[in-house]
């Protein structure tokens, strides 16, 4: 075996993944994240560092150009896979790894690449007054549709001066065509949608789903706040809940995570005053659920999630039917599901106002603390498109 083949094999023993989730792909993303964690396959932040492009979820024409751009940006050796269903993830990862380790396939891929990347049309920086009255360069930077720990598909068009957001405008995600727009395509809100459609759903099942959804949001926020260890713990708990772990197995870990996140008040101090949203403002904007109840900044919303999860974990074994009158039945992970539009639409609508004037780091934390669900946004887009 020659040296290149050996190196390829060694590199493919720990491939680095670029996970791109399409609207409706949440269960596939969860399966990919779980496999990656258990196999020790790092999840890369950018194509520069990744060798394996993982497209998770149903095909989605709206995000396809962005996927192709990232694929074009990915240096070889590389491989890609498209998993449409959680059950096929493990096998697809194995197959893609084999392609990554194959010298023949990698040589063919390198030979088939265009010699030079087509130049992107980069807008030149223009100038304008900044918040201190200085005349500074303005940069147009889109956030999304794909970023690490970002609601996949959401696009925010920012005007930056330095790293201060001067303007923010919301775009996308594009609506999902076909059956993905139904209850099955909205994984986190599914128990409430099914109950509303008259199917039998237990309180325990819905509480389990809601706690997992909020741990998923929490993990993104913690990762962005620079606490990767706590983010991993939140993801492990999320996976345990979705794998039907019994209440005694998760309750102490939830309490421990709560203590760790709030310890010494560092997160509180580092996020104080970011993205302040009072209950009155939230309700006026049509927001319900934890973001409205938190009545405060990024940290208040983070703590509200932790408290919701702690409450839901006590109800995992409740066998009563899900009923709009009880506290679990009233709202899904992001708020009431009974309105004309999913709750994430109102959350996303708040972003341009809350982001203006913040720094990029703060903007990312604000988005993560509201965490609109891309599946809900895409479904709303589809509903709107139908009307």
């Amino acid at each position: 075996m020659d040296l290149t083949a050996r190196l390829l094999r060694a590199a493919a023993a720990r491939p680095r993944l670029l996970v791109l989730t399409t609207p409706g792909g949440t269960p596939v993303r969860l399966a990919v994240e779980r496999e990656a964690r258990l196999r020790d396959w790092p999840v890369a932040a950018t194509p520069a560092d990744a060798g394996l492009l993982v497209l998770a979820g149903p095909g989605h024409p709206g995000t396809a150009p962005a996927v192709e751009r990232l694929w074009r940006d990915m240096p070889g050796p590389r491989a890609r896979l498209h998993a449409r269903h959680p059950d096929e993830v493990a096998a697809a990862l194995d197959a893609a790894r084999a392609r990554l380790a194959s010298p023949d396939l990698q040589r063919a891929d390198a030979a088939a690449r265009p010699a030079a990347p087509p130049p992107d049309e980069l807008p030149m920086a223009e100038q304008g007054p900044d918040r201190d009255g200085l005349w500074l360069d303005r940069l147009h930077v889109p956030l999304g549709p794909f970023l690490p720990d970002w609601p996949a598909g959401l696009v925010l068009r920012l005007v930056l001066q330095g790293d201060v957001v001067q303007q923010a405008a919301l775009a996308g995600p594009a609506p999902v065509p076909g059956p993905a727009a139904g209850a099955g395509g909205r994984f986190w809100a599914e128990p409430w949608l099914r109950a509303a459609a008259g199917e039998p759903v237990t309180i325990g099942e819905a509480a389990r789903r809601r706690a997992a959804a909020q741990l998923d949001s929490l993990a993104r926020l913690l990762a962005l706040a620079g606490r990767p260890g706590q983010a991993t713990r939140a993801r492990r708990l999320r996976d345990a809940l979705l794998a039907h772990a019994p209440e005694p197995a998760v309750r102490p870990a939830v309490a421990a995570l709560h203590r760790a996140v709030c310890r010494w008040g560092t997160l509180r101090r580092l996020t104080r005053g970011l993205g302040v949203l009072s209950t009155a403002e939230a309700e006026a904007a049509g927001v319900s659920g934890p973001a409205a109840r938190a009545d405060g900044d990024v940290f208040d919303r983070c703590r509200e999630w932790l408290e919701c999860v702690a409450r839901d974990v006590r109800r995992l074994d409740a066998t009563g039917p899900l009923d709009p009158a009880d506290p679990v039945g009233r709202e899904g992970p992001r708020g009431r599901t009974t309105g004309p539009l999913p709750p994430s639409v109102a959350l996303a609508g708040l972003l341009p106002r809350l982001l203006t004037g913040t720094e990029l780091a703060g903007a990312r934390l604000i988005v993560a603390s509201l965490d609109p669900d891309p599946d809900e946004l895409a479904a709303a887009g589809a509903e709107l498109a139908h009307d």
Binding site: T4, L7, L8, A10, A11, A13, R14, R16, R37, L38, D40, A45, T46, A48, D49, G51, D73, P75, G76, P77, A110, A116, P117, P119, D120, L122, L139, V141, L147, P148, D149, L160, G162, D163, A223, L224, A225, G226, R227, P228, G229, T232, R233, R236, T266, L267, R269, L270, E359, L360, A361, G362, R364, L365
Partner: protein
């Protein structure tokens, strides 16, 4: 308890204990530094595996080294309108300056060189990483990477002055900028004991110039990796290696500056140096995992309002005792 007065007075009288210039020290110092850096990577991998709920085996510790193979087979990446020369220069500067910095660090009784301005040399190499990281952020012509580079500068403005005062405290205590003389001045009492603030600030400084743990802001996940976001292959390997090499270099420097160098009972000097360096590294690895990333805008305020006055007062203590 030793009288703190005897420390600096004895130090001024003592001769430098480090023996400089042995030929084998030239390859040994970088090799030792690399070994220590790999050790921090292995420790991180084991702790990561425990966090993620994976079984911890001997292979666990070595798996991150597979990234070296990944870096070697990687095709070069071409970006439109990137500044390749400055980009590459910045990337190379970070690990090279770390290796150059340890040339003046005495290990046991030996150092590659013991110039009269050893401490200034170490500090100058550390300041080179400012240029290196900023260029690495500037080079790819990408917004998030550039923001990452600027973040390091903002962070640098906050950590550099307290760090300089911490180094000056040790130099004042010994009445010399020669690292050998600083070790000799601690024969009776370690500087860490009567300059605890300077010691703590030095440890924070090490995390900061290694842009890791609470100071990983320039490579933040919110910037999709920031300075590291656009680099791939060998360039990425160099930057990541530079990060670990600097952590090891900072830990190695803490021993002669604050922990009495190779002094200790029973064991030979090199063994004491090794034990102390490993302990400092363990503290740093634990700290980088436990402390959350500090946002530069909030950290600058703390650094200037709390840390800087404290380290100035700390520098005054040896100045008053010695002069």
């Amino acid at each position: 308890m030793t009288d703190p007065m005897t420390g600096p007075v004895a130090g001024r009288a003592a001769q430098p204990v480090a023996e400089a210039g042995a030929w084998w020290a030239v390859p040994a110092a970088p090799a030792l530094l690399l070994g220590l850096a790999v050790l921090t990577v292995a420790a991180g991998a084991v702790l990561d595996a425990r966090d993620a709920g994976r079984a911890v085996t001997p292979r666990t510790a070595l798996r991150p080294l597979l990234d070296v193979a990944h870096a070697l087979v990687r095709q070069p990446r071409r970006l439109p309108a990137s500044d390749r020369l400055l980009w590459r220069l910045g990337v190379v500067t970070v690990p090279v300056s770390a290796v150059l910095a340890v040339l003046v660090v005495p290990f046991g009784g030996h150092a590659v060189a013991d110039p009269s301005v050893g401490l200034v040399w170490f500090n100058a190499m550390e300041v080179l990483t400012w240029a290196g990281l900023w260029l690495a952020g500037w080079g790819p012509n990408a917004a998030l990477s550039l923001v990452g580079g600027y973040r390091f500068l903002a962070q640098g403005l906050a950590y550099e002055l307290p760090l300089m005062f911490a180094l000056i405290s040790a130099a004042t205590g010994a009445g010399s900028l020669r690292t050998g003389a600083i070790v000799a001045a601690q024969q009776d009492l370690w500087f860490a004991v009567w300059m605890p603030v300077a010691f703590a600030v030095h440890l924070l400084g090490v995390l900061a110039f290694s842009f890791t743990g609470p100071f990983a802001y320039p490579t933040g996940r919110d910037l999709a990796g920031g300075v590291l976001g656009e680099v791939g292959g060998a360039d990425r390997l160099l930057l990541r290696a530079g990060r670990r090499l600097w952590l090891a270099a900072g830990a190695a420097m803490a021993v002669p500056l604050f922990l009495g160098g190779g002094a200790g009972p029973g064991l030979p000097a090199w063994a004491w140096s090794l034990v102390k360096t490993l302990l400092v590294l363990a503290v740093l690895v634990a700290a980088e995992r436990r402390l959350p990333v500090l946002r530069a805008d909030r950290w600058v305020e703390f650094a200037w309002v709390v840390l800087l006055p404290l380290s100035v007062v700390q520098a005054l203590v040896p100045a008053l005792v010695v002069l």
